[in-house]
Symmetry: C2
Subunit: 350 residues, 2 copies
């Protein structure tokens, strides 16, 4: 199913099932609401799945990989070759996301959606390259509208594949040297904030680097200013292929009624595009953590969203999503396994 | 080992090993510091254990149970009998702490340290009752100095037992209807804040209940005002047996170089007494979460401590400690299992 069909398929989550979930939560042996966000996570999942008890979900995290020619403007502390080296690290199981996904028992799938380098020999890499790196957005657009749609469709396809394989919960992840720059450009385009407000240090810029990045981002929006009329045009103008893939994963996940656990700053940029394409997506998204990246806090405030964790993570890859999946599983087990008041002979009380 | 000996046994954690840990963390395939608090947790644990790689710790959570005659002043939404019913729930494995401890593979031990009711038939309950409920602190002291010391010693004894059984990480937990009131009294005594600033809704008071509780707490401090000169006198005057047990667990954990994962508001009151008895304890404590209870935020701000989670939990029992232990294990696995830059051929960069 493709971008325009899938959007029509997305249904609201069930308020009736959310109520049923809350009734059960209020009958568990604890004061009402005293497990705070754990209760909310369980109720939201029931509203998606329409099933009690919760069937513990199979989990898959998708790491979309793309490059960004805007790195030639000096916006990143790392050279572009690191993208490919890190992909090999993912495939060998040695990266942060591999370790944390193992902790929660999630499968990790790595997709070349827009890498500069062709890792033809990498057998377990999912090869879906749309173009060899996004264009230098300080001098023009990242990609064509058609390329953006193809990249979104790859994300949708990944969600569908996960769904067919029985996944109930999917996570977003990404890798791409320089990709906090297009993400900040998306936030500055789709949110009522200017570039300076959403630009942060990425993986490690000093003050001088941050100042240069902010200047580059001003130029990005100037150069592409005419194109920022709708979400997909924004993605095509100032985005990245991996960000488009994440947008598609969010749409596809929502259409197939899976919980989509959104990683950090860059993943949130993809999720934001998906939410602007179809506001119903939001109820399927679980924002895993508030990253140290400055614009992330602003995004959450503007959208009225509270992320699960706040651990100063700024690695990406899906690492925050993996950790948050553990908290979600805790919530599901609380929902399923706790005794009820009638089991133990206590009056529910306040 | 008893209260006064144990305090002498507590040693500073190793700054040298913390440095070694940071060196390793900086050599892992991620930008420096980009796993935020996970890196800090791993480094702090290495500074305690002086061992690389980290040996994944065996875990035990201690739920200290005590009653509080101050409930007769109307400070709780639940009647006192609930303490005993919940203890039976813990022993049957149906409470929140049982579920969350299973999620992380931690053993749960339940200690009657100050229950009103004698659950003589409860075989797996650890029976160490010091007195049958703390006195009504709105009319006098909670216990004698000697009882406070005995209760602390029971906590120390539990830590020693865990240590002898090979635990590397222990968690605090508690149950006792009414015990946010003595906790608030301890915070108001040992921190530079007044009663109104540290008093919250406990497990579910409405506005009227909160106002009554604040008035009761003012009376508690008035009545016991003369006795609040040092940490143990404070505990004896306005504390609770379970809070004293937690204080002892923190002291004993530190003396035996274990990580002590502190649960929520009430556990923090016990931890605060331990930190005031011996400031070195602090480096062994891992505060699991910021509870919704008002005084908890103030406590963390005053002590300059950042808790691991912020999930609006207010159940107690050790539930926050159990969830935080998972985050700590994630951190340890990151430390042990991630590839290094030299493994994958990337220059460490920024």
């Amino acid at each position: 199913m493709k971008l325009y069909e899938i959007q029509k398929k997305i249904q609201p989550v069930s308020t009736g099932w959310k109520e049923k979930a809350k009734e059960r939560l209020d009958d568990l042996t604890k004061p009402r609401g005293s497990l705070g966000m754990l209760e909310e996570l369980a109720a939201r999942f029931v509203a998606i799945k329409e099933q009690i008890p919760i069937v513990m979900p199979t989990k898959e995290i998708f790491v979309f990989v793309g490059d960004h020619d805007v790195v030639s403007e000096g916006v990143s502390a790392y050279p572009q070759e690191v993208t490919g080296l890190m992909v090999r690290n993912f495939l060998a199981g040695g990266a942060g996301i591999n370790v944390l996904a193992r902790c929660v028992g999630a499968k990790v799938s790595v997709i070349d959606i827009g890498m500069k380098e062709d890792l033809a020999d990498a057998e377990t890499l999912i090869k879906k390259n749309v173009r060899r790196g996004a264009g230098n957005i300080a001098q023009g657009s990242a990609m064509t509208q058609e390329e953006a749609e193809r990249a979104i469709n790859i994300g949708i396809e990944m969600a569908e594949k996960a769904y067919r394989n029985g996944a109930g919960m999917i996570g977003t992840g990404e890798m791409g040297i320089g990709n906090t720059t297009p993400s900040a450009a998306i936030f500055a385009s789709l949110l009522p904030f200017n570039v300076a407000e959403v630009t942060g240090r990425g993986t490690g810029l000093d003050d001088k680097g941050l100042s240069r990045k902010t200047d580059v981002l001003k130029k990005v929006l100037e150069v592409n200013g005419g194109a920022l009329s709708d979400p997909i045009s924004t993605l095509a103008a100032v985005g990245g292929l991996e960000i488009a893939g994440i947008c598609g994963l969010c749409l596809g996940g929502a259409a197939h009624r899976m919980a989509v656990v959104v990683d950090g700053f860059i993943s949130s940029a993809g999720a934001l595009v998906a939410m602007r394409l179809n506001p119903l997506v939001r109820d399927y998204l679980f924002f895993s953590h508030r990253s140290l990246e400055k614009g992330h806090r602003i995004f959450f405030e503007n959208e009225g969203i509270r992320p699960i964790l706040d651990l100063d993570l700024r690695l990406g890859e899906g690492t925050g999503a993996a950790v948050a999946m553990q908290i979600m599983e805790d919530a599901f087990k609380i929902f399923n396994e706790m005794a009820t008041f009638s089991d133990v002979g206590i009056e529910p009380g306040a």
